[in-house]
């Protein structure tokens, strides 16, 4: 009946407008009764909150992060999180990430997917379908 979600998707972007727009897309794609969606404007808050989610026996399907953020880049954030949770997968959103850096990160599998800003609904859905099981997606997506 009331199923407690066993998995989560984390989204981080320091731009509120972007996170607003992104969250609507995510809610359209993801079945929020099965998947916890958490959004963070500050990567530091995300870093302290993610362990709490994992402690609740909720598996993190992937983390979607911006590249340029105050205090830390998406790459620094990713590496910090990977140090404790190497199994976490990542999608990076960015309008200015260094191409060669991104290529390198994709090559060594630190980063799973990269989406350049501005993106479209189908850009994001394409990547999400590669990471999220079909039963956790909305049928309309």
């Amino acid at each position: 009946m009331i199923s407690v979600p066993d998995s989560a998707i984390i989204c981080i972007d320091d731009d509120e407008a972007v996170l607003n727009a992104l969250s609507v897309q995510m809610q359209q794609m993801i079945n929020t009764q099965k998947v916890v969606l958490e959004f963070f404007l500050d990567p530091h808050v995300a870093l302290s909150s993610i362990p709490k989610i994992i402690e609740m026996k909720i598996k993190i399907i992937f983390v979607l992060t911006d590249y340029q953020m105050p205090g830390m880049t998406g790459v620094q954030f990713m590496k910090q999180l990977k140090a404790d949770y190497p199994e976490i997968r990542f999608i990076m959103l960015s309008g200015q990430a260094d191409d060669s850096l991104v290529e390198e990160l994709l090559k060594d599998h630190t980063l799973d997917y990269f989406i350049s800003k501005p993106w479209t609904f189908s850009d994001l859905l394409e990547k999400i379908k590669l990471l999220v099981p079909v039963d956790k997606l909305n049928k309309t997506a």
Binding site: M1, P5, A17, S23, Q25, V36, F39, Q68, P118
Partner: protein, 520 residues
């Protein structure tokens, strides 16, 4: 004669005057001049031999035939077996003696110049001639002389060899010298070329510096515009799908009043469309419990209604809206309407905010780029120029860097705007690098006096070591090896020099400050 032949046989080691009996039927003949030079051997020798074998005496005509060049034939005379003659060209006196001994024939020519001439081999005395014992002695001495000759020859060979080697070495040295000269010429050519290259390189660097500034601006603009544009593009897509859904599936099912309610509600909820699912789960639990306990709804229905309510921002405390929804004949569809009305409102707000921000970027940019391509000095507002740089560089800033701007808004400086940008940008980037990961404050202040304008950039980063302070404006002198450090400050120096500004740098444990003095 005696006195002219005053040599001493015991001194006969001098090979120059020596003779050697080589075999029974042959003899050696040397024609030796005063200075010891061997003048001739050759054909005369064979003639002597032939003649000597024929008789005990020699036919001087025969002997000297073919030697007209050498012997002054007119003045010759003979005494016994000795022939005296003068050298044709020099007039030097020579004598030649011939005698036969058992071992062979010897023909001797010795110069006669004066009493001091060292005739070392023979005591040529006509009265003694032929004296066999004397001859024998002379042969003995000759042998000694030959030994000397051999040694000398060996020495000469060695010397020649050395000489040859030396000549070889000299040739090598000559060759090296030539190569060196050639190399030097090439080097000069290369230096010339490199100098020319450097001149054009410097021109290129100046061009590149302009492009670096433009590149940084572009990067800053790209970053500043990319995020709001993303929000606008996605916002419109979201808006579009929600409006389509409203139009196709919902609107026709509702009264004007319902739609008015949904629109009004959407304006009261947060413009934030993102919520924590975990927080929503908690809220949903509370609403669900309320619906089950107070409203007597079955848990399935209560869950679905609670889910819809939480999604549109209705919490357990919001009893008025809960009742309003529950009183509707189709509450779940009403919640759908409210949900999409919320999205429409949120996306319109998002698009509006993002558009305004984009417009702000453009406006800042326009203010900043006013005269960006100006080559002449114009009046540049100091505060605008500082804000323009901060705007453009904002993508480089960490959130732990705080800016304090204490610049009056009415100070103007006469300058080329691009150069002002480059100076402020490089000093600020330098300060950000100096502050490092720890974070800190950069204070920018300006004041005006009658004569000049003072602009100061102070940061609370670590002290710059004194050895770096002196060379801080030199290119590539960096205490950190940062990307822009040093290089950027070198640009600052060049611009300052060309504008006759002054700059002072001080650094202590508390802070580091760059102070610019600009004539007003």
């Amino acid at each position: 004669m005696n006195q002219t032949e005053s040599g001493n046989a015991s001194q006969g080691s001098d090979y120059q005057n020596s003779i050697r009996i080589l075999s029974e039927s042959s003899c050696l003949f040397l024609l030796v001049s005063e200075d010891g030079e061997i003048k001739d051997v050759g054909s005369l020798w064979s003639k002597v031999t032939q003649q000597a074998q024929l008789s005990n005496s020699f036919d001087e005509e025969f002997l000297l035939s073919g030697y007209e060049d050498f012997v002054d034939l007119k003045n010759r005379y003979t005494k016994g077996n000795v022939l005296f003659f003068n050298h044709r060209q020099t007039g030097l006196k020579f004598k030649a003696s011939f005698f036969k001994i058992d071992l062979g024939h010897v023909f001797i020519v010795n110069p006669i110049v004066n009493a001091d001439f060292p005739l070392k081999l023979f005591r040529m005395d006509l009265n003694d001639f032929p004296d066999h014992s004397y001859i024998a002695e002379s042969i003995f001495l000759s042998e000694i002389s030959m030994k000397g000759l051999n040694e000398a020859q060996e020495l000469n060979i060695k010397l020649n060899k050395k000489n040859f080697e030396l000549k070889g070495s000299l040739a090598k040295v000559e060759r090296l010298k030539l190569e060196l000269e050639e190399f030097n010429l090439n080097l000069e050519k290369i230096v010339d070329e490199k100098t020319k290259e450097n001149i054009s390189l410097q021109a290129n660097i100046n061009e590149i510096e302009k492009f670096v500034a433009i590149g940084e601006m572009t990067m800053g603009i790209a970053h500043d515009l990319n995020s709001p544009l993303s929000a606008i593009i996605i916002g419109i897509q979201n808006l579009n799908s929600s409006i389509e859904f409203l139009m196709e599936n919902l609107v026709f099912q509702f009264s004007k009043e319902d739609i008015g309610f949904a629109l009004q509600h959407s304006k009261n909820v947060s413009s934030r469309s993102f919520h924590s699912t975990l927080q929503m789960m908690k809220e949903r639990g509370e609403v669900q419990q309320l619906l089950e306990v107070e409203k007597g709804r079955a848990s399935n229905e209560a869950f679905e209604l609670a889910d819809g309510m939480v999604k549109v921002g209705i919490t357990a405390e919001d009893r008025m809206n809960i009742d309003k929804v529950l009183s509707h004949p189709a509450p779940k569809i009403l919640l759908d309407l409210m949900f999409h009305a919320n999205i429409v409102h949120q996306m319109l707000t998002t698009i509006s905010v993002a558009s305004n921000r984009s417009a702000e970027v453009v406006s800042d940019l326009r203010r900043f780029t006013k005269g960006a391509f100006e080559r002449e000095k114009i009046a540049v507002n100091l505060l605008d120029s500082v804000n323009g740089v901060l705007r453009v560089l904002s993508s480089n800033f960490r959130s732990n860097i705080n800016f304090e701007i204490q610049v009056p808004n009415d100070i103007e400086i006469q300058a080329i705007p691009r150069e002002v940008f480059q100076v402020w940008a490089n000093v600020i980037k330098n300060a950000i690098e100096a502050i490092g990961e720890k974070g800190g404050t950069i204070t920018i202040r300006a004041e005006r006096s009658d004569r000049d304008i003072k602009v100061e950039f102070e940061n609370d980063g670590p002290k710059i070591p004194e050895e770096f302070l002196n060379t801080i404006f030199e290119r590539f002198k960096s205490s950190k090896g940062g990307d822009n450090f040093g290089y950027g400050l070198n640009i600052v120096k060049k611009i300052i020099e060309s504008n006759h500004w002054k700059v002072d740098v001080r650094s202590d444990e508390k802070s580091t400050a760059f102070t610019f003095i600009i004539q007003s």
